[in-house]
Symmetry: C2
Subunit: 288 residues, 2 copies
């Protein structure tokens, strides 16, 4: 089964748990709305790729771990789009959850997706000693003091280290992706941290570039939000050319960090194709 | 060590994990603010009492499970108090989290507490086969389709079954308390569900009574909110006397449901003293 099929099946299985006839239908619908149709699924694909590189001997755990980080990613987008944060009307080319379902359902959908991300791990038939490792990596990547919630919270502090902010808000879930792939396959996750971390930083720089240099149709959401909101941004700090150079460096560092393993070649290919896909078309054309 | 000490220590240990020098300080502070000073800790005490009745042979897991439900309870209060829900200015006699720290930090504090509730379970040294059971009970009690988030979501539906609403919004965490105590001690949690469920319903009826018949000083938060917001309420449906009678019946049913076990007497005593404490002073005096 290919990676995309595995990921969509795992996400569907997780959401099916909440879609019972007795469930409040708006909340169930909002949860599915935020997870489907599929986004790029960058993080779960990275998780599966890292697991494959490590032998992937318990694929059900790998799939659940991959679903977990995608569910948490979707939860963070819902809360990030709320009026009190970015007040974003669009996400993935359609109305954001609070616009489509109201603010209360948006808060609850984020909450319920966080819970589901952990709960669905408990249903996997796997070596019991691997579960605490997987839970811990998931928790650290999304909570305090160094996960997504921490990264978001830096937006509320008077002083904010741009590197720390990006590492937590975006990098943490990328580090978790590669670490989870390794941990689900019974390997030591620590050496895999740097691969995800560098890719997370690269992804954020690419996101800043797309916010500054894409058009709305290409991006699927409003552009120029970082500048309008005065948010930390690599483009603000380094300019477009500087940010492009930083993106290239980070991708090279990620590839250099891949531990020696059987699937290193495939992983390298995935990373290269992702990096190419993330650069705004206008800049990619200009660079070519 | 007495129950209160165990609970406060477990909560302190969980929060200490997020209070590192590198953590964003407002979010870390808001998380502690919402958990301390101690509320009644009804749910974790019930968890410890059920575990004691079952032998409590792995107290570190019991303590972590108890901390988990209290952290989730605090998270639900923060989000429940948000402007888009109850817009409650006070909680436990002090400004609610969004009033004290702003709405963004309040959303994040709830999120981070949910994550912490699961993550801290992964650090416990316990029989590895017990952890998935504990995680599952926690997840089911707080997520979809039948936990707190589901209960809250019924407030956004055009039709709402009052029994289902209370079972999910309040009862789910009480059922989890007794089930977790049993599961942490290696016992079958299922027979313990009814005890917590009945107590949860009793607690919600008591809450409705206090909202209708306490004064603000006794309650530590504004009174009359249910009527003002048109929310489902036992007092609205049954009147004060009817609600008092329902409370008594539920407490009797909870006590009758306690499975045969060594600590049944202590548990019965705890339930009786809780029930007495929850009735508004004015009504208790009138009934005496």
């Amino acid at each position: 089964m290919d990676s995309s099929t595995r990921i969509e099946q795992a996400l569907n299985a997780a959401l099916a748990r909440v879609e019972t006839p007795a469930a409040p239908s708006k909340l169930a619908s909002a949860m599915r709305y935020s997870v489907f149709p599929r986004g790029a699924r960058v993080r779960p694909r990275l998780c599966l790729a890292a697991a494959a590189a490590c032998g992937d001997d318990q694929p059900a755990l790998t799939d659940a771990a991959a679903a977990s980080i995608e569910l948490l990613h979707c939860a963070s987008l819902i809360h990030d789009d709320l009026p009190c944060f970015d007040d974003a009307p669009l996400r993935r080319g359609k109305p954001s959850v609070h616009v489509a379902y109201g603010e209360r359902i948006a808060v609850l959908a984020g909450d319920a997706l966080i819970v589901l991300a952990f709960e669905q791990l408990s249903y996997v038939a796997c070596s019991p000693e691997r579960l605490p490792h997987v839970m811990r990596i998931v928790g650290q990547s999304v909570g305090m003091p160094s996960g997504i919630a921490a990264g978001q919270a830096w937006e509320c502090e008077p002083f904010c280290d741009l590197v720390e902010y990006h590492e937590q808000k975006t990098g943490a879930l990328f580090s978790a992706a590669t670490m989870l792939g390794a941990a689900a396959a019974g390997h030591d996750p620590e050496p895999w941290k740097v691969v995800g971390a560098k890719l997370g930083l690269a992804y954020q720089v690419a996101d800043d570039l797309r916010d500054a240099a894409s058009d709305e149709e290409e991006l699927g959401k409003p552009i120029g939000r970082d500048a309008a909101l005065g948010r930390p941004s690599a483009v603000r700090d380094l300019g477009i050319d500087g940010a492009m150079h930083r993106l290239e460096t980070l991708v090279k560092e990620a590839i250099a960090g891949i531990p020696p393993c059987q699937g290193a070649g495939d992983l390298r290919a995935l990373i290269m194709s992702e990096a190419k896909r993330l650069v705004p078309k206008r800049l990619a054309a200009a660079a070519a």
